[in-house]
Symmetry: C2
Subunit: 458 residues, 2 copies
């Protein structure tokens, strides 16, 4: 095999084979301080099923998927089960047929019975696929967003599985979208390098926070330059109205306010609940009902306009996105980096959002979701949906200190990642400290609980 | 606690606590003979994640969920993870709040992130919930269908979680359905005791079978009294047309023929594919596209009438059933005993089917699905949808010999189960022989493969 030093596609020419998958069940005890709490997820321990692809070279691939505690071990088991489909593959053969590689995991003739393409299997797939893209970007010595920004349109389309969405977007129409955007692509690359992408904050509105904490967080976020703020709702309407008033007082009339019910309601209940909040000028109402209820979201959207319905963070795959977008039930497309089948499926979702003219405002937070969407939002802007108007990307200021290449948000904007890869690598010390259940942060807590229990029972 | 001998509700009064959950990864090497093969699942090894609830009494509860091989270990892990939510519970507290118990598993504040209510988590939930109902029916000394047939309407409604479907059916409208059917209930109980319920066969049309096998199987099924036959399609249109002709020749013009694509197509492709098959008089076209594509199914249904669109075996939960039924994308409701969250969710689905006037024709086959739906179809007929017209329940003649209380199909009809419980118990000898990977049936195969491999590599 010839080795060249071409920067454009070095991975083509370096023979790299995946030799082993390391899987870490990582959990942070965030429930202790109500960070991340909402009407439905009252006690999340922000967690990640982490994947490290080891190769026969010095390169590694880092990926993860996010969960909120219990059950992270199930996702780890699913990754372990998928591993034989990945170990032994060379990066060259994966790159030569990215769609085929993706389908070989997503549609394995036996595993697919467990989904297909949803729930635990989609989360596990995301972790693995994200790690493969991280590896490819590292080998190419580029941040992932840049690799995808510069990839020829035909190659990008060839990474997408259109099965199940061809009635909305197919190879030809996706290629047409990319080609239409190509002439202005370099301008957008330059712009994000300089200005990044607009962010919004959810950190001021967790449902478990006191009014004082909410006020303090709003002031901090305003001082940090944020103009878009989201609050969690759905446990008590009285509390929600009081907190909406507090936040609107703090952020003033020019800032934008969104609310998020995290699937708490039924359809009629959702429509009723939002009415007394409307006077506080709500831009979007997020996850009003079950994330599976396409037609329910569409009915709510018709009833509550001009407030928009936003959803997507628990939307399971491109086939569901297609229906949400086509039906009018998803007026803000909140794609998630780790819920669907990783980068490939998110490219399909960006193409769908473009097809239906719906703005992409990704979901983030959790563990690593901000790091990953910092790449995806740039890919969407540069290749699929070429505007920043009416677009913001979620930001939650938690747990970034554990990342080797943490996302950087300044003056309310995500800056473009600069290091090679997909920014998913977690510091080895953090992986060891918070490994569940045998890392020292967890054994220490277990010992403390056990001592407390023994003390109480005496 | 008082002990009574009341037959109507003995479980109320016997203190029984679940002390342990036994989980068995059971797999049958069905791929060796192409049994169960279709256009998408080309090599299924019919498997089950089996649950045995042990109690502090002599009673056990047996449940299972079906998979097709790889990944069964992931479902077993999910059951293991759910176990702490079940062990230590008493049957009395579960019976006192069946909906609450169901929700405590389906909507656990951390596990729900992995779904909610879909994929691996729904399959695992089904196995556990089915086992709990089996336990309750055994304690009541009744077959499950009879327990549910005789349960007061208010109690039946109290087992159903209406969250996510209240815009279609709620407590009040469900109760109205049950009350409307109550006056004629005993007639239907007597009728199923005498005549059972109509079945159809899929055993003649597996995609991996030769034409000769297809002919032979059709003749056997006709001789057995079947009048409804289903063939798998979707790998080659030429083959499909030839086999449809063969089957129609064999079964004659009076029998009914259905086809099943197992999600093989995109929307436009499905509509095209069915045209040349229409002359063979097709009653329903099953799973034409992704099981998530509500609006796609509805579009196909509009395009191919009078052929009906059937789906449901991979429909993940009641919220999806609601949309399929409301949109016209599900004209035959193929509920599955193990895909959604067990008996409770299936009661919701029966209420939805009744609300939208769509016939329930359950999916079965696999491992144990026939045993379980033999109960569910009677519950549906007796309590929710009181007719046998235009109704058939799938039957596949495989693997029943492993069950303690196998389903009985005679002259093309499922007979009403008679033994106490939900008929999910598998013989201990089978559990041991086919346990994966350490049961003798699997170690023997592994040794043979290894010997073959060593021979080949010499």
């Amino acid at each position: 095999m010839t080795r060249t030093t071409s920067i454009a596609s070095p991975a083509n020419t370096i023979p790299i084979t995946i030799t082993n998958i390391e899987i870490i069940d990582l959990r942070f005890p965030t429930s202790e301080e109500a960070h991340g709490s909402d009407a439905v997820h009252v006690d999340p321990d922000y967690s990640a099923a982490c994947v490290i692809l080891h190769t026969d070279s010095a390169h590694q691939g880092h990926g993860l998927t996010f969960t909120i505690g219990r059950g992270n071990e199930i996702v780890c088991q699913a990754i372990r089960s998928l591993a034989p489909l990945v170990v032994g593959r060379s990066l060259a053969t994966i790159r030569a047929n990215r769609r085929g590689f993706w389908r070989s995991l997503a549609q394995d003739s036996q595993f697919r019975w467990l989904g297909p393409e949803k729930g635990v299997m989609a989360l596990a797939l995301a972790a693995v696929i994200n790690a493969v893209w991280d590896l490819e970007a590292r080998v190419a010595a580029m941040p992932l967003w840049r690799l995808l920004a510069e990839m020829p349109a035909e190659e990008l389309v060839a990474a997408i599985d259109f099965h199940g969405i061809r009635d909305a977007v197919d190879e030809a129409s996706c290629l047409a979208i990319l080609h239409a955007n190509d002439p202005t692509r370099s301008e957008r690359i330059a712009r994000v390098q300089k200005d990044g992408f607009p962010a919004y904050t959810t950190s001021c509105g967790w449902i478990g926070y006191t009014d004082e904490v909410v006020r303090a967080r709003c002031r901090e976020a305003l001082a940090d330059g944020f103009t878009h703020f989201k609050m969690k709702i759905g446990q008590s309407l009285e509390d929600d109205v009081r907190r909406a008033r507090i936040i609107r007082q703090e952020i003033g009339p020019k800032s934008t306010l969104m609310v998020d019910a995290n699937q708490r309601f039924d359809v009629a209940e959702a429509i009723e609940w939002i009415r007394p909040l409307a006077p506080f000028d709500i831009w979007w109402f997020e996850e009003p009902v079950s994330p599976d209820d396409v037609l329910g979201h569409a009915a709510i959207a018709r009833a509550i306009q001009p407030i928009r319905v936003a959803t997507g963070e628990q939307c399971q795959n491109r086939v569901m996105f297609k229906q949400f977008l086509a039906s009018g039930g998803m007026q803000i497309c909140q794609l998630d980096s780790c819920r669907v089948g990783g980068v490939n499926d998110n490219l399909a979702i960006m193409a769908l959002a473009r097809t239906f003219g719906v703005p992409v405002c990704p979901h983030a937070g959790g563990v690593g979701l901000c790091e990953l969407v910092a790449h995806l939002i740039l890919v969407d802007y540069i290749r699929f949906n070429p505007t920043m108007d009416g677009r913001v990307c979620e930001f939650v200021d938690h747990l970034h200190e554990h990342f080797v290449d943490p996302c950087v948000v300044k003056r309310g904007r995500y800056l473009a990642p600069q290091l090679p890869g997909y920014s998913a690598e977690i510091k080895r010390a953090s992986l060891e400290a918070f490994a569940f259940p045998h890392g020292p942060e967890w054994t220490r807590r277990a010992a403390a609980k056990s001592a407390q229990h023994n003390g109480a029972s005496r």
